[in-house]
């Protein structure tokens, strides 16, 4: 759409060219008519969005909107009143829908308060938490409706071997063992009611549908975020201009926070100035080798710690848990409590090793602070994913042979891990933030108030969510705990933030780090959980005595038995046999996707070239402008000299503003 002149200065620009008032009015009227005819041709929604985005004062926008409406009306066939009424009521309805949606957003005011005190990067942590909460709520509702309610309604008698003791909340065994909390509490009968409800299929399809929806939603968010935030960086971006003009956070309203941000900005500007001076001294070869070897050493140490933790957990697991599971004495509280040892060790590792990592990174020196943040994120992700990987391997490899009802066992292990992780999170808030704040302000003044470490907190959230996704197949009601946990953590973190912490110092590029977090949530986290569940469903033999898939070879065989039971040539059966089970289909799809990817990549390359050319064109036009200005100045000088010889004839000479080219509308 043709852009309206950016600075419609009520015709003063054109006035400098020596046009009369009438001609100026004519010109602006032409512009407006063109704008209105453009607007009329748009769809209704695009039209209103375009009107709202006009850079004019409200009264002019209203005038344009009225003219557009009258033009639209004059073009319609229906009675003017009727159509106006219909469109107006339709718009009002849409607006009231929008305001109703506003009500449903939880925590709106709280988030506004956090954003106004701590800025947008800390706010992004809380928004991430809210987003994860939505996933878990959805999963909870879906599982509860489709799996749990039929099971409860159909078989209400739960035989409990022992009464309820308090330890169950932590360990998940005993009273909870045969309830619908875990896989073992479900059985795969076909419920005989008006429409028969096949519990096996319900269990399988509910979990599959939820995971597929999660995956699609994650992919969509990731691509949207990537598109918005990873723009082409073809110039020095972390420099003074950006920091000066684009980085100030207008949403921060609290006086102390603003003072804090001002100090930070000054420090960062000084740092970038000194960096610029330092860049001029090249590093010697020996310095570079020293730096490289330090980096290598740090990486070796980090990877060694990760591998060591993994191995330790594996050995601990194989010794401890199996010893418990083989003699199922329900009254042996001590043995039951000893099952908590593994989760405690895992949480301790998750707590201590990242601290060790930050110590290790102190011995290295980085060229820019952003690289340090990214490398520490990568190391922590490797640690957490290796722990989870070892646990999954242990669960899928050694447990199924040695335990009966092994899926419930895995579900209980995940439950224990989540609960202990939650407890450690609470302890972390208390010790890590509250006590540290007390120590930093009262005892050792130089330590200062702790910073709110966004990366560490977000990675903890991602870790817990991975566990929740792994556990969904083995314990359909696990999201209950995750939802409660996220709720409590939100409020505790908020309180701890206001009482104890200060916002992080390096706030730049928050949007890019957001994209990285979403990508991390998708790639190792969701994909890992999905592959584990898929492996379980595809190739492992379900336990014989409990669960909805008793007696089958693999849970996936429910689909086979279902398609066998369908009448011949049923379209579902046909699709399943000939498309989903044939390899040719997948080859073709992969080929098509590869071709499209190559094609889009070529388009991107072409666009990059175009941008480069356009930049050069801007530079050339600047040079042209300077040249023409010079020529104008010379011409004006000559004219003035000539005019000084004739006295009265040129009173009416319009004053030639040498800067007339600068005052033209920018789209000329």
């Amino acid at each position: 759409m043709r852009r309206m002149s950016v600075f419609p200065q009520h015709g003063t620009a054109l006035g400098n060219l020596g046009l009369t008032a009438n001609e100026i009015r004519q010109e602006t009227e032409n512009n407006t008519s063109e704008l209105i005819s453009d607007l009329v041709n748009l769809s209704a929604r695009a039209r209103f969005q375009a009107i709202r985005s006009l850079p004019m004062p409200f009264n002019e926008k209203k005038a344009i909107r009225n003219r557009v409406n009258s033009v639209k009306l004059s073009k319609t066939i229906l009675a003017a009143d009727c159509r106006q009424q219909v469109s107006r009521s339709f718009r009002r309805f849409r607006a009231s829908l929008a305001s109703a949606r506003q009500h449903l957003i939880i925590w709106q005011d709280t988030l506004k308060g956090i954003g106004s005190r701590f800025g947008t990067s800390v706010l992004s942590y809380f928004l991430f938490l809210k987003w994860l909460l939505k996933f878990n709520l959805f999963s909870l509702i879906v599982n509860f409706c489709f799996i749990t309610i039929p099971q409860i309604v159909h078989e209400p008698n739960i035989s409990s071997i022992t009464g309820f003791r308090g330890l169950e909340l932590l360990t998940g065994v005993g009273y909870f063992n045969q309830t619908v909390l875990f896989y073992g509490g479900y059985n795969g009968e076909v419920i005989v009611s008006k429409p028969t409800y096949n519990m096996q299929l319900a269990y399988f399809f509910t979990i599959a549908a939820y995971l597929v929806l999660c995956g699609v939603s994650l992919l969509y968010s990731m691509s949207r975020s990537f598109q918005k935030n990873f723009v082409l960086e073809t110039g020095p971006v972390s420099g003074g201009a950006w920091r000066l003009l684009c980085s100030w956070d207008f949403s921060v309203v609290n006086e102390k926070a603003i003072q804090y941000n001002k100090n930070n900005l000054a420090i960062q500007l000084k740092e970038s100035l000194s960096e610029r001076l330092q860049e001029k001294n090249q590093m010697s070869l020996s310095d570079r080798i020293k730096r490289l070897s330090l980096h290598l050493l740090a990486w070796l140490l980090s990877l060694g710690l990760a591998v060591g933790s993994g191995a330790g957990i594996y050995f601990l697991g194989t010794n401890q848990e199996l010893a418990f599971s083989s003699n199922h004495d329900p009254s042996d509280l001590g043995a039951e409590a000893s099952t908590l040892l593994l989760p405690v060790v895992v949480s301790l590792i998750n707590l201590i090793v990242p601290l060790l990592y930050s110590l290790i990174s102190k011995i290295e020196s980085y060229s820019n602070p952003r690289a340090m943040i990214y490398i520490s994120i990568v190391r922590n992700v490797i640690l957490k994913m290796s722990i989870l990987g070892i646990l999954c391997f242990y669960w899928l490899d050694s447990v199924p042979e040695k335990t009966s009802c092994w899926e419930s066992f895995v579900g209980q292990s995940v439950y224990r891990l989540l609960i202990i992780d939650f407890i450690f999170c609470l302890l972390g808030i208390f010790f890590g933030e509250f006590l540290r704040n007390v120590i930093g302000t009262m005892c050792i003044q130089t330590l200062g108030v702790p910073e709110f470490d966004i990366a560490r907190n977000v990675l903890d959230l991602i870790y817990a969510q991975t566990l929740a996704w792994i556990g969904i197949y083995f314990s359909p009601l696990l999201p209950v705990m995750q939802v409660l946990k996220l709720f409590i953590i939100f409020y505790l973190k908020k309180i701890s933030l206001s009482m104890n912490c200060q916002p992080p110092k390096h706030t730049g590029r928050a949007a890019q780090i957001q994209t990285v977090f979403i990508a991390l949530l998708f790639f190792p986290s969701f994909v890992g959980a999905l592959s584990m569940v898929a492996f379980t469903v595809w190739s492992l033999k379900p336990s014989d005595q409990c669960g909805p898939f008793q007696g089958l070879d693999t849970p996936f065989h429910t689909i086979f038995s279902w398609t066998d039971s369908l009448p011949e040539y049923h379209w579902v059966g046909w699709i399943f046999e000939n498309i989903l089970r044939s390899e040719l289909f997948y080859y073709l799809i992969s080929l098509i996707v590869l071709v499209i990817t190559y094609f889009l990549w070529q388009i991107t390359q072409g666009r990059k070239q175009l941008i480069k050319t356009l930049r050069e064109q801007i530079v050339n036009e600047g040079k042209d402008k300077a040249f023409l200005l010079n020529k104008l100045k010379n011409l004006q000088k000559e004219r003035r000299e000539m005019a000084s010889y004739r006295s009265q004839d040129y009173d009416q000479t319009p004053y030639f503003n040498p800067n007339w080219m600068n005052t033209l509308p920018l789209d000329m």
Partner: protein
């Protein structure tokens, strides 16, 4: 539903909804906020479009703007006379552009106006120095201020005239994806 309010006619509210990013409820709430800035000046009944403007000094006392280093420039850029006297329409316009639903191009235009202290359609070195002083006050020495501003112009100026035109500014904004979320005042 609930057309009990008598502050605006329905046509006025429709116009506000069509031309700004706010809903009816938010417009009424904004009117409440506008009214409490100067209760003796602002009538509660806007059905006949009264011509009332609140001076700059009262507007910058709002909690959302009070501590903002650029409060004067923000209010001046949205006022019709350029001196900061806002009518209710200008007031709504201001918060509409600063809300989170405004598109990037619109925000870039007004951000440029805000940073352009001498209103010559260019961000020249003096404008940058003023911006920097508002953001850091006494922290930087004059030489450092000078260096930072020179470096900024060097980086962002594409056509080589030693000042930033709107095209240069917009180019810089397009490489800063955080701009949409930082140039945002919640009300």
């Amino acid at each position: 539903m609930g057309n009990k309010q008598t502050i605006f006619t329905d046509e006025q509210l429709d116009a506000y909804q069509d031309c700004t990013f706010f809903t009816r409820k938010e417009i009424l709430r904004l009117h409440g906020r506008y009214h409490e800035l100067a209760p003796h000046l602002v009538p509660m009944d806007y059905t006949n479009d009264p011509d009332v403007k609140i001076p700059l000094a009262l507007i910058v006392n709002m909690p959302e703007l009070k501590e903002n280093p650029f409060r004067d420039r923000i209010v001046e850029s949205f006022s019709e006379d350029g001196h900061g006297n806002l009518s209710f329409n200008d007031f709504v316009d201001m918060f509409s552009v600063l809300s989170e639903m405004a598109p990037r191009e619109l925000k870039a235009i007004y951000a440029f106006k805000i940073y352009d202290f001498n209103v010559d359609n260019y961000i020249c070195k003096e404008d940058l120095e003023k911006t920097l002083n508002k953001l850091t006050k006494e922290e930087l020495t004059p030489e450092e201020v000078n260096l930072v501003c020179e470096k900024a112009i060097e980086e962002a100026d594409l056509d080589g005239d030693n000042k930033l035109s709107f095209a240069d500014f917009e180019n810089m904004i397009s490489r800063a994806p955080d701009f949409l979320s930082t140039f945002h005042i919640r009300i």
